[in-house]
Structures are given as structure tokens and as C-alpha cells.
């Protein structure tokens, strides 16, 4: 029999510490929707997504009510659209994004990911069309998310793609300028993108995946923060053990939900993504966990070490709790979506440079950072290149989701609302990277031995 205190622990985690399953994401392969006719391909895409995911939202809600666990998002990821649309006669790929949007609305999911291209080594004509369609596609749709993989440890960094993405991000911001550059919040530039990530905006269904799969992303910064409050002043060994135990419980809940969703939908279970994903709500912040470890404010010296410990302990605790772990698995540090990080930026404690250092030791990268609207495309490309280099050399996923908010200056705040939160505009370095970015070509893949 489970003890009363264990039961009350769980109830408190859910009621007071924001424990939730962040997302159930159904990955759907669209490779069998390829067609020479754009119209026919879009038709097949809409039909397949709605057929497979028709019961996704209702099933998620059933599980939510029976177990009393909030399941915040139900989402869909699809095959990178550049691969699906590449065979078609389409001049641009905006209609494919519109088909995704229609399917997302029909199934009731709040985001659909996979308007994506994988160009770490080279760019096909289909990839190019997709990338050039991104600004218009994201301006015309609400729920479609785009991502582009520009580098990998095995291929190096495609600097032509990096240069292109700087301009695309600027264009995205301009076209959604009336909404603070909201389009950029739905666009991720990756290095070492993973094929089974359930989290938006970077989710897509990789070509190595099956026809349909259920991936689950767990969360729980509030639970970890609360657990650490009971070990104040104790050595880091105790801190790490406490995080591991908490992560284990959180992940077991995710595994249960994943298996249940997989069984009810008749779709194979893919992975649980062990991530600490914050929200803008008070008490659901990764920044505050780092502060609980003894830092006056997130961004103080010591932040990188604290984050390294947190990220590693979450994985160690979670790995045994799930039969298959995958996705991004680590702590996220999206500035606008984390109440503690927002406060740290506003105090001047957390800068882009410090965030970049933090991305060396945690999941993903510079996420949901707003920079001044007049930041040049070259500077954005250079930021992308720096972040991709960290991922490439360290054999990890890094990503950039940056918003050059039109008309905004340092000191302003961009409001996105909901889970996307509010981003204080952060300063960038004022020096030019123009000649660096315009060289083009590829940065060769790094050595994997002689590591120092």
C-alpha cells in the first residue's frame, strides 16, 4: 500500500508545485503524402493528419481527468516538410504550411511542428524553397512551427544556411511586427536536431521514425525547486541526490501517461523527454532553482556550474524511470517563458553572453531571447553560428529562437502572452560580423578525439 505521505506528496506536487505533463506529441510520417501535384499533396497531408490525430486531444483530456494530472499541450509533429514538398510542382511552400494549419485546427492541437529543413551539409532546391517560405508561412498561420538544422557534429556547420537564416529571422520579425515579431517565436535554428523531440517550436518527425508515434515531454521545475528548499545549506552531493529522486518521480508520471496514451490511441510509444520546461507562472521557473542552490540571482558567477549539476541530475534520475528516453532531455532556459530568468534579465544579471555559456551545459540553447529590432541579419547569423559551434563541438543539440522585436530597444519588453510569456529586450554586441558571415561555405566537422 502506498503511504499517506506519498499520496499527499503527489497531490501537493500537482496542486501547488505546477507538476504537469507538458506535452503529448504525436509524430506522423508524411512521406506517403508526397505527390507531384501540390494540391494533391496538401490534400493527402490534411487527410492523414486528421485521420491519425483525430482522437489525440480527447484522449489526452481523458487521461488528464482520470489521473488528475494536467496535460498542458497536445501537439503534432510531422516529417520535415522540405522532404515532402520537394517532389511537388509548388513554387513556394506556403500552401503546405496552410494545410498543416488546417489540420491542426481540425484536430484541436495548439501547435504543429515540422515546417522544417535539414541543411547541415547542403541545401536542395526543396530546402531552399522551404526556407524562403518560412516568413510568409509563419505570418499566415498561428499554429505552424518551423525549424532548420544548420549544423551537426558529423557534418560541420553550413554557413550558407546560417547566413540565410539571419535574413529569414529578420523577415519573420518584420512580417509579424504588429505582434512583437511573434513569427520568430515559432522558428528554431538547430545544430544536431533530434528526430523525436516532442517540444515546440523545434519538433519534427524524423525520417528514421515509424509511421506514427507518441512522444511525451515532462516538466516540473516547481517540484525540483520545492524539493531543494528542504535541503538548504547542504553539500552538492545532497542537492544532486534530491534532484535525481524528484526527476525520477516526475518521469515515472510521464512514462505512465505516455504508455496510457499509446495504448488508448493504438499508436506505438516513442520516448519520454526528460526536460525541465519552465512556464511564466510563479513557482515554475528553472532560474529560481539555480538561485535556490545559493546564487543571489540567476546569471551570477556560478550559474553555469549550477545548471550543469541540475541538467545532469535530471537525466540521471529520469533515465531509470522510463523505458525509452529521448528528445532533448535536459533543462530548458527559455528567457521569456521563465519568470526567474525574466527577473534576472531585468536586474541586469543575465546577459546573452552568460546565456550562451549556460547553453554549453544544458539542453538546447538561446531560447526565446528578444534583441533590439535594429539588430542586423549578420549579427543574428553570427549568434546562430556561435550557438551551432557549441552544439557541434560538444556533440549536443543547440538551438536558437531569437526575436529581433521590430521597433523595440533595450529596456523594452515584448509581450507574447500565454506559455510564451514576455521577453525583456537584451543588448547585443555592437560590433560587425558582416565579413565573417558573408564568407559562406562550410565549417568542417570537428575532431572527435584528442579532446581538450
Amino acid at each position: 500500500m502506498i503511504t499517506t505521505s506519498e499520496i499527499l506528496d503527489t497531490v501537493r506536487m500537482i496542486d501547488q508545485q505546477h507538476l504537469d505533463v507538458r506535452t503529448i506529441t504525436m509524430g506522423i510520417s508524411l512521406l506517403d503524402c508526397i505527390d507531384a501535384s501540390q494540391h494533391a499533396a496538401c490534400q493527402k497531408i490534411y487527410e492523414k493528419i486528421t485521420r491519425y490525430a483525430g482522437r489525440l486531444v480527447a484522449t489526452g483530456e481523458d487521461i488528464e481527468r482520470e489521473y488528475g494530472i494536467p496535460i498542458v499541450n497536445k501537439r503534432i509533429s510531422v516529417t520535415p516538410m522540405a522532404l515532402v514538398a520537394g517532389a511537388s510542382d509548388a513554387r513556394d511552400y506556403v500552401p503546405f504550411a496552410v494545410a498543416m494549419e488546417k489540420a491542426a485546427k481540425a484536430t484541436g492541437v495548439n501547435f504543429i511542428g515540422g515546417f522544417s529543413a535539414l541543411v547541415q551539409k547542403g541545401i536542395t532546391p526543396g530546402d531552399r524553397k522551404l526556407i524562403q517560405s518560412i516568413p510568409e508561412a509563419l505570418a499566415q498561420t498561428e499554429r505552424v512551427c518551423a525549424s532548420v538544422n544548420v549544423g551537426s557534429t558529423k557534418a560541420g556547420i553550413n554557413m550558407d544556411a546560417v547566413a540565410m537564416m539571419g535574413r529569414i529571422i529578420k523577415d519573420c520579425a518584420q512580417r509579424t511586427g504588429d505582434r512583437g515579431g511573434f513569427g520568430c517565436a515559432k522558428l528554431v535554428v538547430f545544430c544536431n536536431a533530434v528526430e523525436d523531440n516532442p517540444f515546440m517550436a523545434g519538433a519534427f518527425h524524423g525520417v528514421g521514425e515509424g509511421d506514427c508515434v507518441i512522444n511525451v515531454g515532462v516538466s516540473g521545475p516547481g517540484v525540483v525547486h520545492h524539493a531543494l528548499q528542504s535541503v538548504k545549506g547542504m553539500p552538492f552531493d545532497v542537492v544532486a541526490e534530491t534532484i535525481k529522486k524528484t526527476a525520477f518521480r516526475v518521469t515515472r508520471m510521464g512514462q505512465l501517461v505516455a504508455q496510457e496514451a499509446s495504448r488508448r490511441l493504438g499508436v506505438p510509444f516513442g520516448i519520454v523527454d526528460l526536460s525541465l520546461a519552465p512556464t511564466p507562472a510563479i513557482g515554475d521557473s528553472v532560474g529560481r532553482i539555480l538561485e535556490e542552490m545559493g546564487l543571489e540571482v540567476c546569471g551570477a558567477h556560478g550559474t553555469t556550474a549550477a545548471l550543469a549539476l541540475l541538467n545532469d541530475a535530471v537525466k540521471k534520475g529520469g533515465v531509470m524511470a522510463s523505458s525509452h528516453v529521448g528528445g532533448l532531455s535536459g533543462a530548458f532556459i527559455p528567457v521569456s517563458e521563465d519568470e526567474g530568468m525574466i527577473a534576472a534579465v531585468e536586474r541586469g544579471a543575465l546577459t546573452l553572453d552568460k546565456l550562451e555559456a549556460m547553453t554549453c551545459v544544458c539542453s538546447v540553447g538561446l531560447d526565446m531571447v528578444a534583441v533590439p529590432g535594429d539588430t542586423s541579419a549578420d549579427t543574428i547569423s553570427a549568434i546562430l553560428a556561435d550557438e551551432a559551434a557549441i552544439g557541434m563541438v560538444n556533440s549536443k543539440t543547440t538551438a536558437v529562437r531569437i526575436i529581433p522585436a521590430p521597433g523595440k530597444q533595450v529596456g523594452d519588453t515584448v509581450e507574447f502572452g500565454g506559455l510564451l510569456g514576455a521577453a525583456p529586450v537584451m543588448p547585443v554586441r555592437p560590433f560587425s560580423s558582416h565579413a565573417f558571415v558573408t564568407r559562406g561555405g562550410r565549417i568542417p566537422a570537428p575532431m572527435q578525439s584528442l579532446k581538450n
Binding site: 500500500m1 502506498i2 499517506t4 506519498e6 499520496i7 499527499l8 506528496d9 503527489t10 497531490v11 496542486d15 481523458d62 481527468r65 482520470e66 489521473y67 488528475g68 494530472i69 518521480r249 515515472r252 508520471m253 512514462q255 505512465l256
Partner: protein, 89 residues
Amino acid sequence: MRAIVTVLGKDDIGILSFITALLAEQKVSVLDISQTIMREYFTMVMLVDCAKIEQPFDALAAYAQAEGEKRSLSVHIQREDLFHAMHRI
């Protein structure tokens, strides 16, 4: 199907009878009860069997929660396997 009922709230006369009456009316059978007062808060955990309930489980959970709120009580009914998953290897 077995479920765990948790009831939390300020202590008052008749909470136990209120909850058991509510469960009986819904044809929920009580298997085990543990109840205590922590500071001035009433805390009760019950293991129940929902095999004979006539409405869907999620509707029962929503009903119990709504009825509890009328008396300023937090009432949750959750499937038992959640707690096993989280606390047992």
C-alpha cells in the same frame, strides 16, 4: 478500478460523513481510510473501488471536486496506478 481519494481542508464537523455519503451515493466502495489532522487541517486519504460506478470515472472526479469546493474542501479522485508509478519501482 481502484482509485485514491484525497480530501484536504480546514477541519470541521461532519467532513467524513459528507465524503462517505457522497461516495456511497455514487456507488463507490471504500476499501481503506487514513485520516489525520495536520495543524488545523483535515487530511484524509481513502483507497476506493470504482467497479460499480454508473457514470464515467472522469465525471465522478469532477462531481466530487465540485461538491467538495462547496464546503471549501479540496477533493481529488485519481486512479491508483499513478501513485504506484511515482512511488514504487
